[in-house]
Subunit: 794 residues, 2 copies
């Protein structure tokens, strides 16, 4: 081990040092106990096999490091009366965070049966990673946490999200050296280029180099010190090093580094807030280099364990059956001198708790980690101010997202003082036509500014960086600490955060079941620049599958909307921005789109989630429909309406019903999603026996997956995107995928029985139109006039 570095002038008294070390030992003891013990928590008896859990599960390796950080955060929080939150990147070190929460009392306050005494300690141990107990990772069940840490990669982005618009908050963030190898984490370091020292809080990264992952050394732990420092300075930080394996020395160094870091943060904020400087600061960070599995067994069965990857999970295995391991475990547990740490009744002794802060200052009790407690309703202005006038359907065109931009801009204005709403997106806010928002706030930016730049602002609340991972991570951190936001993203590239949204849904799903977790604002996606309009980019930008991914997740949490025009987009946006504890996916185009519904009609239609558009069909009420034309999504809706128009002209006697679906989960059975339609309603809308030609925005089989249990399912015929993509005209895209109006009419003719000879001619005319299109577009490079100039009204 390298020599311990000392920073600043912090000199711990003997008493302080004793207290910090006692707390750290207590936390270590409790972490080991959780992994191993079913009973005999206080070791009042010699350890016997029946005290040991039958299955040994959990992660010891990272735990002593997390305990060290928690112990020292306690000290500075108490000493400075700091408002702090900690993100535990190595969240698989659940035993450590649970131990600290129990020590400080928040665990017992949250779960009174796990009291801060011998009975509770036994329960704390037994429940850990035990059937019916608590998960082995930091999880929603863990007080003080907003971060799971099982997947790895998102801790630093979460920390920045939490710090935004929380000027008094310090967010410590422990980053494991394994996690530091991931892409999302590597990208997140540059978040400091967008953090405003005036309006935002501070992030204090603690890079924990314990040297090993599950089975390998870590890259950052094996860089020469100078190279690592260059890297961290290149990330915009000033690293403070703490390294060692002798506890007292490390405590002294850690206390000094924490003080120095917090002094610097305070100075940076003071200078910025007093207007003395607008230079981007070089924020401090701590590099903590301690052995993996520190204080655990040095060797097991002759192999080195402490300080190696072998301590990653459970250093001593088979303890029930291996007397030597059992003895080694007892020796290990007793090495923390539990008698000095806990009284007869298992309560932590005063020395252990001397540095623990009080009340909400405790890391397990901060309301920032239970953000719903701090959440205020978002002021969403009346939609009437933004809605487009629609006297008749299909007479006017608007760019839906551009109009939405006006609404978002107003929200930005209405939250200018509160600062609890952020718009995030990877460099695409303007490309997605939301740029009205720049009239209300700028893009957060602390780096160099040139005269040619536009809309950059140190205090801006639009966050843009070319990293979907950062956008997602920031927003998750922001929402879980009690604020609101919207993520606008190219539809195809939101797949970049598939895994992150999966984790967030899991978090919300579990949180909803915990009465003490207050609901938080939903995570809202606006997916635009979608599959049908990738004129500049083509195949690589065409992927509508995020909806499929999201609909695999817990139905309590996920919602999917495909508003077909501008006013429906406004209505959907209004709904999702006010909602709680959901992941809402809204897919909407940015290109000019016909206005179909007035605001009132849009509201009514969105409230139903799916409904017949009587004005578009030919039902008179006298006869049941011969066919249902259904649609979901803006482009499919246009094609279905065009097909309905063609049918009206060519087959005037056909009774056509047009159904538009805004909320995809309405198609699901009632038992499988809270929004699922009862069968009688589905049957009434789609019929039980008539052909349903369904034009869907994405992969067609999704509609079958949602509706396979419906009575009329065998009559359901779905068109959608089938990976036939390239750079071409908008109409050529729908033709290539058989979603075009002509194909839909052919589908009707093919499926409605008894249309007679007239239908043969209609079918041929449609096929001819497709051939005509093919020749035209290849010659002229644009869509043929009968398509380009089409309008419903016209």
């Amino acid at each position: 081990m390298r020599k311990v570095m000392r920073h600043g002038r912090t000199a711990l008294s003997r008493e302080e040092l004793g207290s910090l070390d006692a707390h750290w030992r207590a936390a270590n003891y409790l972490a080991v106990g959780q992994i191993y013990l079913m009973s005999n928590a206080l070791l009042k008896e010699p350890l016997r096999p029946e005290h040991i859990k039958p299955r040994l599960l959990g992660h010891w390796g990272t735990s002593p490091g997390l305990n060290l950080v928690h112990t020292h955060l306690n000290r500075v929080i108490k000493a400075r009366d700091l408002s702090a939150l900690c993100i535990w990147g190595p969240g698989h070190g659940g035993p450590a965070v649970l131990a600290n929460s129990w020590l400080e009392g928040t665990y017992s306050e949250t779960y009174p049966d796990v009291s801060r005494d011998a009975v509770g300690m036994n329960r704390l141990f037994r429940q850990f990673s035990f059937p019916g107990g608590v998960p082995s990772h930091v999880a929603p069940e863990t007080p003080g946490s907003i971060h799971e840490g099982g997947e790895l990669g998102y801790s630093l982005a979460h920390a920045y999200g939490a710090a935004l618009d929380n000027p008094e908050l310090v967010v410590a963030c422990v980053i494991g050296d394994g996690e530091a190898e991931t892409g999302p984490l590597a990208a997140s370091w540059h978040s400091n280029k967008l953090l405003d020292p005036v309006h935002d809080g501070a992030v204090l990264p603690v890079l924990h180099l314990n040297g090993y992952k599950i089975a390998n050394p870590t890259v950052l732990a094996r860089l020469p010190r100078g190279e690592l420092d260059e890297l961290l300075r290149g990330y915009g930080h000033e690293p403070l090093h703490v390294a060692g394996d002798e506890p007292a020395e490390v405590h002294r160094a850690m206390a000094a580094a924490m003080d120095l870091a917090l002094d610097r943060i305070a100075a940076i904020q003071r200078d910025a807030r007093a207007g003395r400087t607008t230079e981007r600061p070089r924020w401090p960070m701590i590099v903590l280099r301690t052995p993996k599995g520190w204080t655990g067994p040095a060797r097991v069965d002759g192999e080195p364990v402490e300080g190696t990857w072998r301590s990653h999970q459970v250093p001593l295995s088979g303890v029930r059956d291996n007397p030597e391991h059992l003895a080694q475990l007892e020796q290990w547990l007793r090495s923390y001198r539990p008698d000095e740490l806990f009284d007869e009744d298992g309560r932590p002794r005063p020395q252990v708790l001397a540095a623990v802060p009080d009340g909400d200052r405790r890391l397990g009790a901060t309301p920032h980690a239970n953000g719903g407690l701090l959440l205020r309703d978002l002021p969403v202005a009346p939609l009437e101010r933004f809605a487009v006038p629609v006297d008749k359907p299909g007479e006017t065109l608007h760019e839906p997202t551009r109009v939405l931009g006006d609404l978002i801009a107003q929200i930005m204005r209405d939250t200018a003082g509160r600062r609890d709403f952020r718009l995030v997106g990877p460099d695409e806010t303007a490309s997605n036509r939301l740029q009205a928002v720049y009239g209300a706030t700028g893009k957060a930016w602390q780096a160099e500014v040139l005269p040619t730049d536009e809309h950059l602002a140190r205090d801006g609340r639009v966050m843009e960086i070319l990293s979907e991972h950062c956008c997602q991570g920031w927003l998750e951190g922001y929402l879980l600490t009690g604020r609101h936001g919207l993520f606008s993203c190219y539809e195809a590239f939101v797949h970049i955060v598939d895994s992150m949204v999966g984790q967030h849904v899991k978090w919300l799903r579990t949180s909803r079941q915990l009465p003490w977790r207050a609901p938080v604002a939903s995570l809202n996606y606006l997916l635009t620049s979608h599959v049908w309009r990738q004129d500049h980019n083509g195949f690589s930008h065409q992927d509508p599958g995020f909806v499929d991914l999201v609909l695999n997740k817990s139905p309590e949490v996920v919602r999917v909307y495909l508003p077909p025009d501008t006013n429906t987009l406004l209505s959907v946006a209004d709904h999702v921005l006010r909602s709680r504890d959901y992941v809402n996916v809204v897919v909407a185009g940015k290109q000019p789109c016909f206005d179909w519904l007035s605001l009132d009609e849009a509201r009514a239609h969105c409230a139903r989630g799916a409904g017949a558009w009587d004005w578009a069909g030919t039902e008179t009420g006298e006869r049941a429909p011969d066919v249902v034309l259904a649609c979901a999504g803006d482009v499919p809706t246009q094609e279905v309406l065009a097909a309905a128009g063609l049918l009206r002209r060519h087959l005037p006697d056909l009774v056509v019903r047009v159904v538009n679906v805004v909320d995809m989960t309405r198609l699901m059975p009632q038992e499988e999603h809270p929004h699922g339609m009862p069968d009688f309603e589905y049957d009434a809308l789609f019929t039980t026996d008539k052909p349903v030609i369904f034009a869907y925005h994405g992969y067609p089989w999704l509609v079958h997956r949602l509706a396979y249990r419906r009575t009329g399912h065998a009559n359901l015929h779905v068109r959608g995107y089938r990976e036939f993509g390239t750079t071409t005209t908008p109409f050529d895209m729908v033709v290539r995928n058989d979603l075009d109006r002509y194909r839909l009419v052919m589908d009707v003719v093919d499926r409605v029985p008894g249309l007679g000879v007239r239908a043969v001619a209609v079918r041929q005319a449609m096929a001819d139109a497709r051939t005509r299109h093919h020749a035209w577009v290849r010659e002229h490079g644009v869509d043929m006039p009968e398509v380009a100039d089409w309008s419903w009204a016209g």
Copy 2:
């Protein structure tokens, strides 16, 4: 602009400078022409509106920078007779790479109708981003490319993948400063910690700081020079800077930087290969700082364009209708002095081509970019050497991936000389129990080594870093340059690369349609540590949805296998490792699993992809089955067999058929996937009218999505994972998700008519067993003996 830096002693002659500049101007001219012109390619007439494309699509901003790099790569390739490949990170700058390919002649050799003359130039222009033409990005259609560059983030990982085991190859990699903000790119810098200067080639990153993305400044372009250098040195590179906006000066600086970089690379390789040093080298890289849209219109409509984000796509819009823009375009095109660059017939003049290399040395012609040309069959040893003996089903247990590890180890041995096989994975090779491979080769590692480390080797061919993005990117680059590999990954976290695999499938789908692209080895995933056995980690590690994602993609490319035991895994592995142009997803457990099939049986079963296991059912041939118990995946197979055993005992008269599905796509209709079963075969296997209880490894509705068109679909009842996860026992996991044997028996009883009163008792017994389990597991923390000790034979 900063002052131009000079490196080394390269002094271009006047002639060389003239030739380089002529080539660059020609490429710029051709790039602009592709974006704007339908005809009049050589500007023989004054530009008129009808010469202009009706839709102006494409990306100009990055093109002059790409052209500069290509021009200078030409020079050094020719001067040094270098074997080189270039990854164009900003692949949306398609016009640039197409222009260069046309200039060097490879384009016309690949597509003879686009000849290197006036006729061909007109075609080159017209076809670009035009219906029926070529995509706007670098794409499979582009000679010399293995990288699309639309999504951004993967260029550097692709470059490293291409360089591995290609000791003579230099892989240049242009990284846009937008792309550099992504997580995957940020993580990829550390790939140099695994690159062996002895056995691998070199990667030369060219970080192109043109300052802006679509709408924003880039982070790296706005760092102070010193901070940027610290970052790049921290990544392990020695940056060489080239900056300016005066062409001649930039040419001189670029030529010098290229020479210096290549000299250093040569010296590093020489020293390492002569054994003079084993220190990790500090590889050179180039930082190129030139204006975005350089040489394009300086201002348009009064706004600055060159050097700003406004030049990202099409700097002059509405050119057909705006005479001023038309004039500006003509002036812009003529500024390159096309008459000096092309002769009367449109052929590039000798000066333009002076620095262009010959034959396969041309970047568009290198066989490394058409890797199938270099591909050799992988030596897969006879499976008999690894198969486990199975006399009777269900009598023995093996860990399937551990046995697979023996096969992979043998492949490593058999490719030790050829070095054309790599195993990649995020720190999980041993965790996934493939560690036998370390007996044959080590883990690639060039950083510091400590005595406690194991299996690290400078020349190792196992690649582990905690970044699924890097693993995926390396493997893609490795495969597309004509080698073989396997990606072993935790099932849940493969979602991290969802978007990457989507792009790779698109690449393969298009490549398969291009006769000149030779087939490459398939991208093979081994997904293990799967949803049912996350004893240490729980909910965050439980996600079987990658299969769903992959099955949304082009059916020509995607394949999904769920081998139920060790020998079937061997058979599947043998198949996928020999296959071409697919993405194969293999899901297999690492935990001890009953052996059901002998090797011969496994081969026959895998060849069918799905089939009845007669020994497991109770059919005698006299009566049709009363019920079909189907399964896919190791854990569901075990539960179905246990259910079959319970039925045999409790309802001996019931005729049960047990069907196991290895290849999920067999469930699809024949018309929708090449592996899809004909209806008659499906009907014969699953019946058309009997209840089918299907226990599936993942989300249950996937089976419905695949089989919804089958006759018997209404009788299909699927059990699978429904997001009821946590850290608990293996059997508790299946119970929570209703996939357990008792529930399956209850499903049978509920669905088979006419079972009478006996069935009521059986149903109650099953429900009781579930209750018993619930109590047992919560008390003891392990599965109850009747489950834990169960075996088919027993």
